[in-house]
């Protein structure tokens, strides 16, 4: 007998799993567990439109609360899963409630990496609450110091600058968005930030945050009335590890996103999965990855087994640049730039061993869409 599906985590991946299960015609019980006390919402605007004040809280919600009732999806707010009993196939919630499963989907996402802090907690950006408190605070702020030169640090810095704040950036890495883009794109974005009068210090590690301010590795101290930290995330694997599922970086899965227990799947930011474009196991933090994982698992649970093998793609918005990336960044041995970087509209094609590996498009959506098709394996 089908005991139903329990989905732990009501973020992008968890929400999409529930939605796709119903779209696939799955008629069993679905429980969707949340620990933030909010109807599922989109995170990308948290460092973009919402932070800038051009989007409302309501516009971030994927669906209104009634939708879950209509679809017979038991959306359980603020009652996180605390333990998995694999033998009995039961999840224990904090309240003491227990839920049984035939299929369990771990969609627990990730939490922010923090700096050792003895002074005032800096701002970070992962949840609606994070973005909302930063947004409120920014209206009164003058000077912003953003730590981290990945997507989140850069988007937050750009959003603050767009509101007229004095902003500067510090990053431990040698170039902007180093893990995700080519050196050409890093350099182009660096120039753009400089044009917007946002100075950037690279190769500068932060040691800790104290009452005095932000202490750098060389002992010097930087101060600002607002400090935003965006130095990456750590996948939420604790539940899986406690239940003795294989964990390596994220929760390890096969190409069907099944963990080492055949009744348990892992999707989205928390899943270390075999990715045909990475040529092996990897963990990816993106909307595409979360949504396509969810769709594959929903199909499999509904009786139509489906391997995950979509072309990875990402986007980010900083000042006037919308950057879209198709494929996964590798160290390329050949790059080709099409269009005029000076004009702010161009694409970078990155090859390795004669093969096209990833394409970065700045304000060139058509080139990005074409690249997604071109890269399909």
């Amino acid at each position: 007998m089908d005991r139903g599906v329990v989905i732990i985590g009501a973020g992008q991946a968890g929400f999409q799993t529930a939605l796709s299960l119903r779209n696939e015609g799955y008629a069993g019980k679905i429980a969707l567990l949340d620990d933030e006390g909010r109807v599922p919402y989109a995170r990308p605007p948290l460092s973009k439109a919402y932070l800038k004040g051009t989007a409302t809280a309501e516009s971030l919600e994927y669906r209104p609360a009634e939708f879950f009732v209509q679809q017979s999806i038991d959306l359980v707010l603020s009652d996180p899963a605390v333990a998995l009993d694999r033998r009995r196939q039961m999840v224990a919630l904090r309240s003491g409630r227990e839920l049984e499963w035939s299929s369990l989907v771990l969609a627990t996402g990730a939490h922010v990496r923090r700096l050792p802090t003895s002074g005032k907690e800096p701002f970070c950006l992962r949840t609606f609450a994070d973005s909302d408190s930063l947004r409120t605070h920014l209206s009164e702020a003058n000077e912003v110091l953003a730590i981290g030169v990945g997507f989140i640090g850069l988007e937050a810095a750009a959003a603050a600058r767009a509101q007229g704040k004095k902003v500067r950036l510090i990053g431990a890495e040698a170039r902007l968005m180093g893990r995700a883009v080519s050196p050409f794109i890093s350099a182009w974005f660096q120039k753009m930030f400089e044009r917007h009068e946002v100075p950037i210090r690279l190769n500068t590690a932060v040691k800790r945050i104290t009452e005095a301010g932000v202490e750098l590795a060389d002992g010097s101290v930087e101060t600002a009335d607002t400090v935003i930290v965006g130095i990456g995330v750590i996948p939420n694997t604790e539940l899986a590890a406690k239940a003795n599922l294989a964990v390596s970086g994220g929760i390890v899965t096969d190409s069907y996103l099944r963990t080492s227990d055949p009744s348990i799947f892992a999707v989205g930011d928390c899943a270390t999965h075999p990715n045909v474009y990475a040529g092996g196991l990897t963990r990816i933090e993106s909307v595409q990855n979360a949504a396509d994982h969810a769709r594959a698992v929903a199909s499999t649970i509904s009786g139509k087994p489906k391997e995950y093998r979509q072309v990875p793609w990402f986007w980010t918005e900083q000042f006037e640049a919308k950057l879209q990336i198709a494929g996964l960044a590798v160290e390329a041995d050949e790059t080709e730039v099409k269009g005029d970087p000076e004009s702010g509209k161009f694409s970078v094609y990155n090859y390795k061993g004669g093969k096209l590996k990833f394409v970065e498009s700045v304000n060139q959506p058509a080139a990005h869409i074409a690249a997604r098709k071109l890269l399909e394996i």
């Binding site: 516009s59 971030l60 009634e66 939708f67 909307v287 919308k322 959506p365 058509a366 990005h368 869409i369």
Partner: protein, 107 residues
Amino acid sequence: MPSITYISNSGETRTITVDSGTTIMQAAVRNGVPGIVGDCGGECQCATCHVYVDEKFLGLLKPAAEDEDAMLALTASERKDNSRLACQIALTDKLDGIVVTTPPIQQ
């Protein structure tokens, strides 16, 4: 407050009234209109909010911007001359009474 009518692929109609500024995608998902998915939340990144706009109203719309036009190449159902992405069209009083048909599939 503009009103909008959605016609499903099988011919059922739903008319709703929304605040100006609401997009055709938001109006659908907030009111439980089937046939519009909106995976990306309106970022013009997913093409799962594809609709066919009634010809009478096509001329009242601003033409699709470059990113919408590009994304329309990825719709799961056939792209037609009146294909648009619902998340890129904000409803205004000028568009009051607009009629859109949802495609057979979105993904």
